[in-house]
Symmetry: C3
Subunit: 310 residues, 3 copies
């Protein structure tokens, strides 16, 4: 692609030579002739300009110091659009791989890509344009929307963890609900999503769940939630839209997290959280309050010495 | 099923019309004619009775306010028994799926269900009535008892993490022990259970281990332990019977947790715990003590201000 | 093997009868005639000598009290060498299992063992002598060195978690980098390693990563790092050589951990850590400092009572 084509693709302001040919996109360290380098933050600008790259994508406030560049409002958005041009063909082509095991009662949409060693159980439904990477398990009655991506080793529709303690041990509560996943959802590798006990576990459209996260039975997530890796849920957690969760956070059962809330990494949420909150710590509190407590805690040994001296 | 048959199945007290026909079990929200709705706690009673359900299972102290219902001592126990009547046929039928890879030296019991893409290694043993969902790996010498359920993606018998630091790096300690799992054990999706270095890793009968938990080499768990998701173990942890563990808890190596103990979510257990304890926090303490500390911690910023003023 | 052969193998000092025949290696509890028992620490010596074992490996300072034994400087190193003699043949033989799915453009070295249901994508490279257990996924462009071991269910090269928030939801940043893994790396079961967004995620030679750990895009690990289970990384974390990490620890993005550092279990690392550190807690601090804080915290409720009384 020519740099001027790239400028047009991202609605950016072209600086310098628009006829520069871009053959790939590179990190700053590895950049060579033909490469385009992204400067996502100004602090990387000096290093980037020293590299051998042919051109740069820069935040609109930056100077290109005589190099060829495209200035954009949102470099990350530009990165998304431009990488789409340079990504290789889909690893899993449309169609059902001959080794996949798809139950005859499952309904598979158009342009669905089903990789090797995928198991799709009875009454499952897969929407148009969805990609399912190798070794995924979709148990019975799992419904997946359009344009979803399910990464390798995800287990969707496993039984919820429901047992009744009895004199003879833990008696299983049969899990007869399903899982309903919206459109444009991405579920990463080895994630587990349990089916509902009764009723469905639900994951709203546009939500993305990173590797090794555990979603329990009857959780209900809104739209465009961003849930990172190794996060744990007890049963029946409700997320409104646009909730963001950091790595290794955990959620007690039967609570609701309001829309636009950020739950920071390693937090342990034990009760309802109102919309537009930022919470951290365990038990999770308003982040400012938690930060104050953590700061006080770090001064505690010294404070205790002073108290003794009094 | 008729409501009077359900009352008889759960030894409950029939209220109202026993000839009501029940065709499925529903959550309160989705309930319609033909549905049975469970009220597990009194606080849900009012909403339940407003629903369109045909009948209800209620705690024995409740009033049905003129609706048809069955009163029971333990609604969860009733839930287990009744859902068993309404669950669909087994997803994985008895027999070995043609795509499964079972070593000729493995011994497979009667009525065992082995799903697609399951690998069963040399000298493995699978007890009668066990169900193995798709894409499970049972490494060499793994022994599983009767009526167990092994969910998709579980890895049982992977090498323990044992290395000796040397001048040339981390030298592997070969792992030659096995894994022995009792009867009626349920292991959920993507759980990993490492083999013993020497001797066996053991999981007692009736124990249930939820998704994405990591059981290290030479752990020995008693009977009817309830271990939830994303829990981590270092090597040689011993659990006596009936230990319950919350999500994302972790255990240092070579310690013993006494029977009937509850380890709360996210706890980090660093030493032996006596029987009948409830522990939380990291390092895990008696929960009352830990609660007191956490309460004091939340008042710390304020307390520090007061100290300064003195 | 005769005990004198074992003494020679480990360069140990033979005590007692070198002609004792050793047929297997056992734990203390199960030891019987023909067994060799290891005493890794002196506190286990008395119990070991009471067992029915035929001979012992002891730390060089120990007394064998009249039993046949080999005294060694480093019993764990001896354990590694001796177990190598007693371990069974490889579970996955060299060659590509007929059920594996290997892309024609992948390059497979000599003496590589590829188990059942393994998927190897386009342009992947596998070095000589590497073992890949069942149901592993190696996505496109993953490069693995020589003599590596990849355990069952590992997912290497899954997309990094990269999205841009937009008015229409989370827009995916295509992930076009790769994963480069050195020699003698061992990756345990169900571990996930994300590909780089641009450039590669790198795991240095000799590094070992235990079950269910999540390595994010563009992480760069040095040589001989020891990373245990359920550890989580955000993107672009750099480890110098010989970093050791305890279970369930987590790392914020774009930070560097210096060589020879130990990060203790459940720590949450939020900023750069200098070489030769020992850190714990969240946010992770120098372990001595953190220990002091934790000790003060446990005395806090009592301290507060005293303050009130003043």
């Amino acid at each position: 692609m020519l740099l001027l084509e790239i400028a047009s693709l991202v609605n950016g302001k072209l600086i310098g030579d628009g006829s520069v040919e871009i053959t790939s996109v590179s990190t700053i360290e590895g950049a060579k002739i033909g490469d385009l380098v992204f400067v996502l933050e100004d602090k990387f600008l000096a290093d980037a300009l020293k590299s051998g790259a042919s051109a740069f994508i820069l935040p609109e406030s930056s100077s290109a110091h005589g190099r060829s560049a495209v200035l954009v409002k949102n470099p990350r958005l530009a990165l998304s659009k431009i990488l789409k041009q340079f990504q290789p063909a889909a690893e899993i082509p449309p169609g059902i791989h001959r080794s996949a095991e798809v139950h005859p009662s499952a309904r598979i949409g158009k342009n669905v890509s089903i990789g090797p060693f995928v198991y799709i159980g009875p009454e499952a439904e897969i929407g148009d344009g969805t990609i399912i990477y190798p070794s995924v398990t979709l148990y019975r009655k799992v419904k997946i929307g359009q344009r979803c991506v399910i990464h390798s080793g995800a287990r969707i529709g496993v039984d919820g963890y429901g047992f009744v303690p009895t004199g003879e041990g833990l008696l299983k509560i049969p899990q007869i609900g399903g899982v309903v996943i919206g459109d444009d959802v991405e579920i990463f590798a080895n994630v587990c999503v349990a089916r509902g006990t009764l009723g469905d576990t639900k994951i709203g459209s546009g939500t993305k769940i990173d590797n090794l996260t555990h979603v329990a039975h009857n959780c209900k997530f809104g739209k465009n939630c961003a849930i990172t890796g190794l996060v744990g849920f007890a049963g029946s957690v409700t997320f409104e839209d646009n909730v963001a969760v950091g790595g290794q956070a955990g959620f007690a059962g039967h609570l609701t997290v309001g829309k636009n809330t950020t739950v920071m990494a390693k937090a342990g949420v034990t009760k309802d959280i109102p919309p537009n909150s930022v919470v951290s710590g365990f038990p999770a509190l308003d982040h400012k309050k938690d930060f104050e407590i953590q700061a006080a805690l770090r001064r505690l040994p010294e404070t205790m010495k002073k108290i003794k001296q009094k």
